[in-house]
Symmetry: C2
Subunit: 295 residues, 2 copies
């Protein structure tokens, strides 16, 4: 995908291309927040030690552990966003792959219009019109694949995005609440000059808080309202999966090196996309004169 950067994008995928790029910056910001947070925690522990105050030293060291885990969660979040971004790319790739089909259809239409004006009796017009029917059929498949992929992957992408948001939030709440328990172990009663602070007596409690936090993190499981998808019924051809009897008819794969998995299988039956074709022939065979009702 990296090679697509800087290369002119097809019109259709330009917007999503830009979103995916911006998301990369957002993810970078979270990674950077994570790194900073983690680097601060050891500094905090060092500072606490340097105060020479046993209580401050112990508390700041353990605060550092919790804050470091808070920072780790920012990185987990960033990685989850990376997965979400990958799903957006699947929409973008389909968009890119549909563009040539649109262009092809438009180009043949233009050629016919031009020819009808210049040479209204040219026999090439009939040939081009047959070609147009095929191009339109192919494009219909492409557009169906696009809407199918767009809706399914949009749901999937933001399902992941929101799940990642909730995961980070729930884990950070647990950590922050343990952090607050830790702070309660620090006695901030002011002293008068010459007083010595009593020894820190909460070492084992502080240790226990870290253990509790660790256990909470380990036991955390997502608790989400599911987002049901009807797209599970979608076949590898990005069409509704059906009990088809036909074999692969229209191949829509391989446009300009795009992922080759996009294939429209020929199917039969009432809801099949071939239902408007007279007879049972597969659509868009080179010599077919399909009777598609085109929009």
């Amino acid at each position: 995908m990296a090679s697509l950067r800087g290369v002119a994008q097809p019109e259709l995928s330009k917007k999503l291309f830009k979103i995916i790029k911006s998301e990369n910056h957002a993810i970078g910001a979270y990674e950077s927040a994570s790194r900073e947070r983690i680097s601060i925690t050891s500094q905090l522990s060092d500072w606490g030690e340097a105060t020479g105050d046993e209580s401050v030293s112990d508390i700041s060291d353990k605060l550092g552990v919790l804050l470091s885990e808070l920072g780790e969660q920012e990185d987990v979040f960033a990685q989850n966003l990376e997965d979400y971004r990958g799903v957006l790319k699947q929409i973008r790739n389909t968009e890119s792959s549909v563009q040539p089909s649109r262009d092809h259809k438009a180009k043949i239409g233009d050629e016919i219009a031009k020819l009808k004006y210049k040479e209204p009796t040219s026999p090439k017009i009939v040939q081009l019109e047959q070609e147009l029917v095929r191009a339109e059929a192919q494009n219909l498949v492409a557009e169906a694949q696009l809407t199918n992929v767009t809706r399914q992957k949009l749901k999937e992408a933001y399902d992941m995005h929101f799940a990642a948001t909730i995961e980070r939030a729930e884990k950070q709440i647990m950590l922050a609440r343990h952090g607050r328990r830790l702070l309660n172990l620090l006695d901030d009663t002011p002293v008068v000059p010459g007083d010595t602070r009593p020894a820190f007596e909460h070492g084992s409690q502080a240790r226990q808080i870290l253990n509790d936090a660790e256990e909470d993190l380990r036991e955390w499981t997502p608790n989400l309202e599911p987002i049901p998808s009807s797209a599970t019924a979608m076949g590898v051809n990005l069409m509704p999966a059906q009990i088809g009897t036909g074999t692969v008819g229209t191949s829509f794969s391989g446009h300009e090196g795009e992922p080759a998995a996009i294939e429209a299988g020929s199917t039969t039956g009432e809801t099949s996309y071939t239902r408007d074709v007279s007879g049972s022939s597969t659509i868009a065979q080179p010599e077919s004169t399909s009777s598609y009702q085109l929009p």
Copy 2:
């Protein structure tokens, strides 16, 4: 404070100075994440519109609103961290202001040692020893102020930090859960070529989800275990607040342009820092010969 950047820090405040600087980077990362997130949301809405799919357009537009609010919360978080950072600066400033007191005490000690070696009978030794007693008394006050400020402000700073973490998390969970409800309104049942998608019928439900999210945000209130502080009994002199009868004695303010609020008031009574001083004189007056038990 900005003017302190790049200026050599007293040894005592070097570590915290670095932490405060690193926190600035972390805060910057959250601000940047917020900006990116918010910029993406309008792009998402534009993209949805460009798909020409009414359902995708409506859902992506409203997803954009929720994502934008998620982004705003990153910025609120960053601003809260800025407040936390301000509290760390209070510790750092006290550290900076205590350094000269330590240095002064050490310097007089050195001079005495040098003089005792070179001119053991010098009358200046007596004078310097009186000065040392005063310097030590002053430093005792400074160190008490430092430990009082350190403990109180450490608690306060991380109280704020964790409260900010919990606030962002709780609000983002609400928003993300509403986002998931929104996704459920998008039908991703795959279609066959030539099919037209049914009209989007969930417009009012989608609108309602945004209203719910808005209301949840408005009604959110922090629900935190309090972190009690005993430092509320601390006076403006950074010492235990007491029913004192004395007036301000030792002034500890104004070291190298540091905030001038640090003053040690003279107090009386059993737990007062003047309890070891014979008589009722305030400590560290230029001519006093305090009987402090020094460490």
